[in-house]
Symmetry: C3
Subunit: 357 residues, 3 copies
Amino acid sequence: MKDLFRSWLDILLIFVPVSVGLELIHADPLAIFICSALAIIPLAGVLGRATEHLSAHVGEGIGGLLNASLGNAAELIIALAALRNGLHDVVKASLTGSILGNILLVLGAAMIAGGVKYERQKFNQTAAGMGASLLLLAAVGLIIPALFHLTAASQGAAVERELSLEIAIVLFAIYVLSLVFSLKTHRHVYTGEEHGPADLGETPWTQTKSTVVLGVVTVLIAVMSETLVGALEPAAHRLGMTQLFVGVILVALVGNAAEHSTAVMVAMKNKMDLALSIAVGSSLQIALLVAPLLVFASYLFGKPLDLIFTPFEVASVTISVLIVGFVAMDGESHWMEGVMLVGVYAMLAVAFFFLPA
Amino acid sequence: MKDLFRSWLDILLIFVPVSVGLELIHADPLAIFICSALAIIPLAGVLGRATEHLSAHVGEGIGGLLNASLGNAAELIIALAALRNGLHDVVKASLTGSILGNILLVLGAAMIAGGVKYERQKFNQTAAGMGASLLLLAAVGLIIPALFHLTAASQGAAVERELSLEIAIVLFAIYVLSLVFSLKTHRHVYTGEEHGPADLGETPWTQTKSTVVLGVVTVLIAVMSETLVGALEPAAHRLGMTQLFVGVILVALVGNAAEHSTAVMVAMKNKMDLALSIAVGSSLQIALLVAPLLVFASYLFGKPLDLIFTPFEVASVTISVLIVGFVAMDGESHWMEGVMLVGVYAMLAVAFFFLPA
Amino acid sequence: MKDLFRSWLDILLIFVPVSVGLELIHADPLAIFICSALAIIPLAGVLGRATEHLSAHVGEGIGGLLNASLGNAAELIIALAALRNGLHDVVKASLTGSILGNILLVLGAAMIAGGVKYERQKFNQTAAGMGASLLLLAAVGLIIPALFHLTAASQGAAVERELSLEIAIVLFAIYVLSLVFSLKTHRHVYTGEEHGPADLGETPWTQTKSTVVLGVVTVLIAVMSETLVGALEPAAHRLGMTQLFVGVILVALVGNAAEHSTAVMVAMKNKMDLALSIAVGSSLQIALLVAPLLVFASYLFGKPLDLIFTPFEVASVTISVLIVGFVAMDGESHWMEGVMLVGVYAMLAVAFFFLPA
């Protein structure tokens, strides 16, 4: 079943050549957008698997680090493509969307899928509490620049960019220290959650195979991301949707598809700790690693990125983090908690749909 | 003592004919307002009891459903009267007030009354956590339209009404699913909290008696609500209060009086699970059932109701929900936690008093 | 080591005569500001110790009350000096700063210092939960007037002052009741956290010595505070900092220095309950006792103080309280939780630095 599902997703790889072809013949941007989105979904999955296989070869410490840093490489590559094209609002919208998608939709779907089979599912309260607290800290990193912008816009864009840069540095430092915590000083808290290739029921790939796959897939995702981002504006226009909605909801769905299917699968095997660490861990990587890296990278492109998100984005992330905290704090889940998370996501998605550009 | 208290409340039934009389002779609106308010208090109590007695006859499943749906029939009828008269702000204020009143004043008073007798009172953490999470989800349903209004008012009232309608649908769906959870798949979590007529120390009424009482009382509440709402504006003016204050504080006190006395009584018998389920359950019914039903009903009246609450109402509900979550999360209560809830209510009431119309 | 540290701090007492001298010769205000700040640090420490020694003589009940009321006497005296000079913004900034400093910096540093030695440190969940709930209530006391000001400024300053006064009365009442809770009805919950002089490894002072020291030190702090406040404005200007930043960050650091060193020391001895009660208790005293007292005192000075804090201050306190709640709710701490608190403090400090006057 699981293998079937994986092969089913892998069929989407056909859209890699299809999108390249459509791009070359300057086809309808909406077709290009859809095909490159569909192409990225299996690529992100393969990227994740290659990272895991490679991690198995380089020892636990470095392996954990690899997993932790490359886990959201697909999101990072998509965002870099948007950044290079000067689409700062799309970059930020895809960050927000990825955070919301992971902690509401991915985690919610996992809790529902698991909760339908098991009456109540337990998970490690210390790890969940730590995740919830880090999510709240990440939310603070979004709240501060937005509030500064609302109350002190008179200070000018240069000050706001400096503030954003310094907050990015703090977030990045917190990320590094959280790795020290989870991979070194308190690794035992997180044991039982590790998922090596064995977990996925596969024979490990050789180191060479993993590295080659990793390289090839990264290049393919980069190409597809360029295609996706290039078609985004006209495609959004054709769909009658704003770029904000496309960035927050659609692009994020594409980037999170791999996490989504894995989290649901492990939840159905009653491994809620793993499901939680995929969903929350992925959100944290976006907020504490990908976002700061994008700010740093933007200086290389000569178009500094600030971290000023719209009030709606900030409020959405904050309330989502609070509700995840409330839901996760008791160390157990059932299907209704999953329904609540998905319900909040649905309400937010409706609002983002109606928000003006 | 309990029977005494009930008869004492029932004496207020004298105000049913009194208000009708005052209305007929076009008496001072303030007198009409006060008398019809006093008349609704015992009627809401009788309505609740009749529902419970009827529930005992129709089997546990349907009985629970009846209880869950008619528990706030009084609030619904008052709000429908205000809706029919086009007093949309009063409708929304009475919803906010009922939520705040239940989770702060009713729950706080119950914790104080119980905490004075018992040093610490325990309650089911799973049920309390679920209640707190659902309250936060309900708060999200209030936050989204208000924030949309603040940041995207330019989209126009039609879009805001559509957004409100879709959020009402999500809230209603969550309510239905929460009934499935608490009455079906996870009923055992909530056992020990059920309160049939036996709990109230009475011999059960016959099914015919319950149904007749239910019908008669519903009609009487509807009549009294019309009288109350009709006198609200001039009465508020005479009292030097705004309609917002009257709706949030006074009308809500009237609608919640029955819950208030029951919650305090059961808390004094150390049944904190029941007190919590009355207070939190009642707030949830208002937010997830009554509010959506009012939105749906408003389309029948041809004056669509939106869910855009004032920033003060939204903030009040949000912080109240958070503080209830903090207080309830640990699975036990003492009198000081009750004092905190009442203290927050007092601060909010003062602010609502000073807020302009 | 501990005695050494105390003597090291006591060396700073030399700055008492130095600041008086500088003041007399009308020296550079920046020098006066720095010297009087350095002088207050050891004085606040001595004040705290004298209070504890005196408490040991007057019996547990009154002793606890003395400790609870005089614990932040230094902050109160500094704020009174600013109040007398009409620097209302500095008064409020120093309150915010003291709350933030205690729950983020002092508590964070204690958790890091303790967490480096001990893998995980446990503390009393009931006391921690109560502290977190009270902090959230205190935050509500800040949110309400600020939100009122933002949405109903048209009501005029007189109404806002009346609202502030009534909220101050509620906060003060909550403080008194929380003392009844922690010193009387639920004292046993807090045992194991008490710290008499014995705890500090000293022979108790006589009652006369304690009283004399208390009197002398109070006068000295009052004099130094006048000097500090008098030099604040020109010193801030010379440093290129706003009065807001100086009030929130610098003055608060001075006022909290004693709590800071004590909390870190006890955390390193694995007494996290005590560290938590110092940090959280100190914040609560500022919010529930010092702030209301300042409002009351301001009426004596004929310049009524309102409780309208800036949106940034309100948001900072609210999110800090939430993150402390998330961190403390599970009843245990490790170094990474300390890092998170300090990280949030760092981000807020950066923002306060850039905020306009």
